[in-house]
Amino acid sequence: MRPHQQCFAWLRAVIAPHLSAHLGAPGKSRAFAWALTFAVLGAGVSPLKAYTVYVTNEKDNTVSIIDSSKLEVVKTIKVGQRPRGITLSKDQKWLLICTSDDNTVQVWDTETLTFVKTLPSGPDPELFILHPAGNRLYIANEDDNIITVVDVAESTVLAEIAVGVEPEGLGISPDGGLLVATSETTNMAHFIDTATHTIIDNVLVDSRPRVAEFTPDGSQVWVSAEIGGKVSVIDPKSRKILAKIAFEIPGVTADAIQPVGVRISRNGKLAFVALGPANRVAVIDTATFKVEKYLLVGQRVWQLAFTPDDKLLFTTNGTSNDVSVIDVEKLRVLRSIRVGRYPWGVVVAGH
């Protein structure tokens, strides 16, 4: 698809539905959208780049592949059982998927979309994170209270690190020296030295911590607590909690506000927190820790991923079987894309 075609496609896909919502009559809105298309083109706005978005569908045993320029599913592939955590190898040639009920991590070729191999993962892998250097993969084994460290190239287990009950979220510092693992029933963030595979400290956070995410400069790690309803911002040097961020949404009971996925923009200014059954993503100013906005997305919003240019944020909405697309600059939800059943994890490739 040539750039101007992409732009047309995007404008049709993105703007037309919104206009039809505003204008009512579909025919009229389409004409208006086309008029706007030309107006915008004339003004020289750059189109959305074509990135590839991969979404695991926990219930369907599939991965939906979305073209970010078209904002539609272009392909669905059948993978192993109960796919959840998903990430890309450093060279983006491999797609790595936690296939929890198979007790393995599957590796798929992103070019040919064919199965390459399985990695040993320990039982029930749920989430994982790749070391910035590219080869070591840290896998949370929710059923076994350990983190398994795997050599991706050699398909071998390098180490097992004992942590608290039900390890889940994993964050790694930008320099790769520090791994943070959350354990859901122990309610801690474990700080692990990646050189020695030993725990150097444990920070007690609120109930059922789900996700740990470092800021791009490595100065903070954000930990969401699903049942506690808060996000703890921790200084990885002192392991002190710098701030606890609470959420309040009119008309939504406190119990339903359950922070899970956390992503921080590459410039470090905005944090996005998925609030589960509150069906919203909170936008937080990282300088003040204040919630700037709540964006209404699909039901039980779970995990988040930016496009490499940080223009779009994709959210997996577990119970409504769709993915919401957020315009990061305008802080608006552009549209939702229907995927498989119980979408869980999401990752975006630069190609």
Partner: protein, 431 residues
């Protein structure tokens, strides 16, 4: 010794070795041996306990006290309780507490006492004199009250995991008792909300003649009134179906049940109150009218179900299965919640002192993640754990109450059971 028990013991030891390998903590060897040996040799427990605990760690001792009662066997072989009913739930929670505890230098130990009421009171009292402050209790309401009154001047918290009597939460409430078992009121309200949501508003209530069944029937009547259902007819089941086991047997039941349920004004659902499971399972597929059965049989309200997999429960069920070699029952769950509550409060208070743990457990800050999708905490007006209630068939969860649309100004969970304005509990009103 039966095979099953050996398997459970091995599972305990296995779990210990695993934790041990991970942590290298010396103290854990002994505390787990303690758990394992107690199954066989309860008397040895006390001496081992004192020998096993290094001073550097904070120690929290928990007693699981179970009253041995003469209970009639259930109708179905599938409902026979396991030999380690409740005990396995406690063991899992102790393991979970200790996995967390090793990061904070806290250690939790469990002693199980199973005895008839008088012996139980005496043995628990003896443990309390030795310094135990946490009693997780599975006993009949009179025994709960007797123990609470006997220990009322001591620094002890009793966690009632077995008795569902509303009376223990209302007029009969005691300041030193909290309840992880849901009350009858909570169970009946959970059911009532769903039946009303389903628009099955006309109920035919069938209750057993004994006091427990009548108390459940009272809770059902109250639920109907609260949520807008109508009981079109009530009947007391006094039919004696005979011994539960006989060669043949279904032939006569097949004749008796239609006759018993004949000539009822039109109704939507048959609500049964049969807590001991003596006749309720005879009703489905045998009633005169083709109607669903709910209550203590059929669609049941319960704190836990062995097939629940939502909210991360899968891992929890797996942990239990590995430990006990059987699925988790509601009593196991109630006991797990009790022992985990003590662990969670100790973790948060960063203390092993009974006063600190009890104060934290009762505070507004207390919250427990317990695989039900929202935080659990204790009601300030009667010590009842607020929790979602599952409605389930024998194989699967059907729904979870509170139901959508039943609103409450502070917590929707408080639409189930005795709410603050209607509470009759005086002991909690003046601490």
């Amino acid at each position: 010794m039966p095979l099953r028990r050996n398997a459970a013991r091995n599972a305990v030891l296995d779990g210990t070795l695993r934790t041990l390998r991970a942590s290298g903590a010396h103290g854990l060897i002994c505390s787990c041996l303690l758990i394992a040996t107690q199954l066989a040799f309860p008397a040895m427990a006390a001496s081992q306990q004192s020998a096993s605990q290094p001073a550097a760690r904070q120690q929290v001792a928990i007693v699981l006290a179970r009253e041995r009662r003469e209970l009639p066997p259930p109708l179905s072989l599938l409902d026979l309780p396991a030999a380690d009913d409740a005990v396995a739930g406690a063991q899992l929670a102790i393991n979970d507490n200790n996995t967390t505890g090793r990061f904070l230098k806290q250690e939790f130990s469990l002693e199980v006492i199973q005895a008839v009421a008088d012996d139980l009171l005496r043995d628990v009292d003896a443990r309390v004199r030795q310094g135990v402050s946490f009693i997780v209790l599975d006993a009949s309401p009179p025994t709960v009250l007797a123990l609470a009154d006997r220990l009322k001047d001591r620094n002890v918290l009793i966690l009632n995991a077995g008795a569902n009597a509303d009376q223990l939460r209302d007029e009969g409430c005691r300041r030193n008792v909290v309840h992880t078992a849901p009350s009858r009121g909570m169970l009946a309200d959970a059911l009532a909300q769903y039946l009303v949501w389903k628009r099955w508003r006309r109920w035919f209530l069938v209750a057993g003649a004994d006091a427990d069944d009548q108390a459940f029937a009272d809770a059902v009547r109250r639920g109907a009134k609260r949520f807008g259902a109508k009981i079109v007819q009530e009947r007391t089941f006094t039919l004696d179906p005979g011994n539960r086991r006989a060669d043949g047997g279904h032939e006569q039941i097949q004749e008796q049940i239609p006759a018993f349920t004949q000539n009822v004004p039109d109704y939507d659902v048959l609500v049964v109150a049969d807590e001991a499971g003596q006749f309720g399972d005879y009703l489905p597929y045998r009633s005169w009218d083709a109607r669903p059965v709910a209550g203590t049989q059929g669609l049941v309200a319960t704190s836990w179900h062995p097939a629940l997999e939502q909210w991360g429960a899968t891992q929890f069920q797996n942990r239990f299965l590995r430990l006990a070699n059987r699925p988790m029952r509601a009593l196991d769950y109630n006991v797990w919640v009790a022992v985990r509550s003590i662990g969670e409060a100790a973790t948060r208070a960063r203390s092993a002192t009974a006063n600190d743990i009890i104060a934290y457990l009762r505070s507004e800050e207390f919250e427990l993640a317990a695989f039900k999708g929202r935080k659990l905490s204790y009601r300030s007006w009667n010590g009842q754990l607020r929790q979602p209630i599952l409605l389930a068939t024998p194989k699967l969860t059907v729904t979870v109450s509170p139901q959508p649309g039943f609103l409450h100004p502070t917590s929707e969970l408080d639409t189930l059971g005795s709410d603050k304005p209607e509470s009759l509990c005086k002991a909690y009103a003046s601490p």
